[in-house]
């Protein structure tokens, strides 16, 4: 008897079959990989764009989905200066554009230069909404007059980026989650605990993740071994419930710079208040270090492609079909 459940409960990759007609013939697999590339380096926009092109080429050549998470600034930069890249992101069915908040947004964790935590819930929501419907002035930390933020990204893509990284201080998280949910987001990224499919944080679902594999910390290591170790660990994580997800995380700057632009400008001895000095730029990695990072990443994606039947790769759009 071919029941819906038997069709679908085969793997997280096949979760998409809840709505996808093309059912994948995976053997039962309870653990999936979720590649996410956080793109945020406003100091080196050309390198950032180049890296995203390269990552798209790799993922599309190997058929491995990837979540490409943009900040408001990177969304604006790509939209304005790299329209070809933006269009590729928009129409890709393997890449899912996601979104994350970084300083100087005052509701970002440890960046509350505006004392948002002391505001009423209503004022917090109004503030987050103003930021997430406008551009962000990186010097003053204020919303700009132009359209921008998460709302503009929704308009530009024609879909609401399903996953959002909005790490806030505890007093502000609920307001931020409410606004992002209103604007169309579905999942909030959480790290540091078992995040199970279907669980919520305020009005958002949590993006499932049981192991946060920070691939960028492991240059020189064997990517296959790293992924296998993380996949083996995922089902054993305390509080975890199937389907298990291993997040495989990178940032654009990991591939070319010593530090991220936002760390360089907003955290490293530059004061925690506006105005911020955008002339500070992190030094770039040398060619060998850049090659080593790419090789690590390429190895990880290649390993995922070779083992997709056993250890499928999922993405935020696939997860969207599962809740």
């Amino acid at each position: 008897m071919t029941t819906r459940r038997r069709f679908l409960a085969t793997s997280l990759g096949a979760l998409a079959a809840a709505s996808w007609p093309a059912r994948r013939a995976h053997a039962a697999a309870d653990t999936s990989l979720l590649f996410s590339l956080n793109v945020q380096d406003f100091a080196w926009p050309d390198l950032s764009a180049q890296l995203v092109f390269r990552a798209l080429d790799l993922h599309e050549a190997l058929g491995i989905p990837v979540d490409i998470s943009l900040t408001t600034t990177q969304s604006d930069l790509f939209w304005r200066d790299f329209p070809e890249l933006f269009e590729r992101l928009r129409v890709s069915t393997l890449a899912t554009v996601c979104y994350h908040v970084r300083p100087p947004a005052p509701y970002h964790a440890l960046c509350d230069w505006l004392d948002v935590a002391a505001m009423s819930a209503g004022d917090q929501q109004a503030l987050v909404r103003r930021y997430e419907t406008h551009g962000l002035d990186l010097v003053s930390g204020q919303p700009s007059a132009a359209d921008g933020g998460y709302a503009a990204l929704v308009d530009r893509l024609g879909y609401a980026p399903p996953c959002v990284g909005i790490a806030c201080d505890a007093a502000v998280q609920a307001a931020a989650d409410t606004v992002f949910h209103d604007l169309g987001a579905t999942f909030g990224v959480v790290h540091g605990r078992a995040a199970n499919l279907g669980e919520r944080r305020n009005s958002l679902y949590v993006r499932p993740e049981h192991v946060d594999l920070k691939l960028f910390e492991h240059v020189g290591a064997d990517p296959a071994a790293l992924i296998e170790a993380a996949a083996a660990e995922a089902p054993a994580v305390r509080g975890g419930r199937a389907p298990f997800v291993v997040g495989v995380k990178m940032h654009d700057n990991d591939f070319f710079a010593q530090d991220s632009a936002w760390l360089t400008v907003y955290a490293s001895g530059n004061g925690r208040r506006p105005p911020w000095d955008l002339s500070r730029r992190s030094p770039l990695l040398d060619a060998a270090a850049q090659a080593a990072m790419w090789s690590l990443y390429e190895g990880a994606v290649t390993h995922a492609a070779r083992n997709a039947a056993r250890l499928p790769a999922t993405s935020c759009r696939t997860l969207l079909a599962a809740v």
Binding site: T3, R5, L15, S19, P162, G184, R200
Partner: protein, 325 residues
């Protein structure tokens, strides 16, 4: 001894049937309720493009939309010709495509109506148009029902799919009260019946046949007469296949189901495959042909979910049934 044994065996049989049929008390038949029957319908879904890349062109490309539209009409005619039933359940994005692309040329094939209105009006006992919502991307059931209404389809209150299991993740208890939309004009909508209890990723769907009023998240399978929001069970909800329905009919014929009650089953179809999978329409026809003898005996009635709800209320006296596969 034989007499006593017969007495015992009848009592045991009643107990067995009662247990098998879940919550029923067995007195409905005695009070002149109609005979036990299985009510079935096909249920189709379309989805948001983002979460469903293979089907995305149906809602993002006009040409593909129109090809699928033609296949939807063919399927409707096929279902009507063979006396079947179909609940066409729609997410928000398809409805936007209808609004955008059902132009004069398109509606010329559907009596001057857009496709969802045509479907909803052609034979309401046979084809219903219900809301389906994952309640993502800034939309909820009230918004989808409102979109349908804007297209000329009055709300029928069917909730076309929702998470019920595990209990901690349920989203249905809030649907007992009027639901306010998430987008302008923030419409208010009241659910009349739930269908399609599911779990994240369909890993542990709370499948059952029958109509009952779920008590609370932890006791979803318990009928609570004090509740007003019933759930219509989809049984195994096979995808484009009738084996689950056949099994249910077999249980009915072999007296393994409590008499005088109403049993329910649904068969899933993916709307976007209607034009892209040449085997799908023939599969639907084959299922309808396969069960024609059961319709002839009266064991099976093809009926849409709103009709099932009405029948449960008006003919079966809201007698609750929950039988799990």
């Amino acid at each position: 001894m034989p007499k006593v044994l017969r007495g015992v065996s009848v009592a045991a049989l009643v107990a067995l049937v009662g247990a098998g049929a879940g919550v029923g008390s067995g007195d409905a038949a005695a009070q002149g309720a109609p005979p036990a029957r299985v009510y079935a319908t096909f249920v189709s879904h379309n989805e948001e493009a983002i979460s469903n890349p293979p089907c995305a062109p149906v809602v993002t490309q006009r040409e593909r939309y129109l090809a699928n539209r033609a296949a939807v009409l063919d399927t409707a005619r096929l279902v009507l010709e063979r006396g079947g039933a179909w609940d066409f359940q729609s997410e928000w994005q398809y409805l936007q495509a209808v609004a955008a692309w059902d132009d004069a040329a398109a509606i010329a094939t559907t009596d001057g109506k857009n496709v969802v209105r045509w479907l909803a009006e052609i034979a309401p006992d046979r084809i219903a148009v219900d809301a389906h919502s994952h309640e993502h991307s800034g939309w909820n059931y009230a918004d989808v029902a409102y979109s349908l209404q804007q297209l000329g389809v009055p709300p029928n209150g069917i909730v076309g799919g929702f998470i019920a299991s595990p209990a901690s993740l349920e989203v249905w208890t809030r649907l007992r009260a009027p639901l306010v939309g998430r987008r302008a004009p923030y419409p208010v909508w009241q659910a009349q019946a739930l269908w399609g209890a599911a779990s994240p990723g369909h890993r542990d769907d709370p499948d059952a046949t029958g109509v009952w009023r779920p008590r609370d998240p932890e006791r979803f399978f318990e009928d609570d007469p004090a509740q007003s929001l019933p759930h219509i069970g989809g049984w195994t909800s096979d995808e484009a296949a009738g084996d689950g329905l056949a099994d249910l009919l077999d249980r009915l014929r072999t007296n393994r189901l409590e008499p005088g009650r109403m049993y329910t089953a649904t068969i899933m179809i993916q709307q976007c495959n209607l034009d892209s999978d040449a085997a799908l329409q023939p599969a639907i026809a084959a299922i309808l042909d396969r069960f024609a003898p059961d319709v002839a005996t009266g064991d099976l009635v093809w009926a849409t979910l709103p009709t099932v709800l009405r029948t449960w209320r008006e003919e079966y006296g809201q007698a609750p049934v929950v039988v799990r596969p």
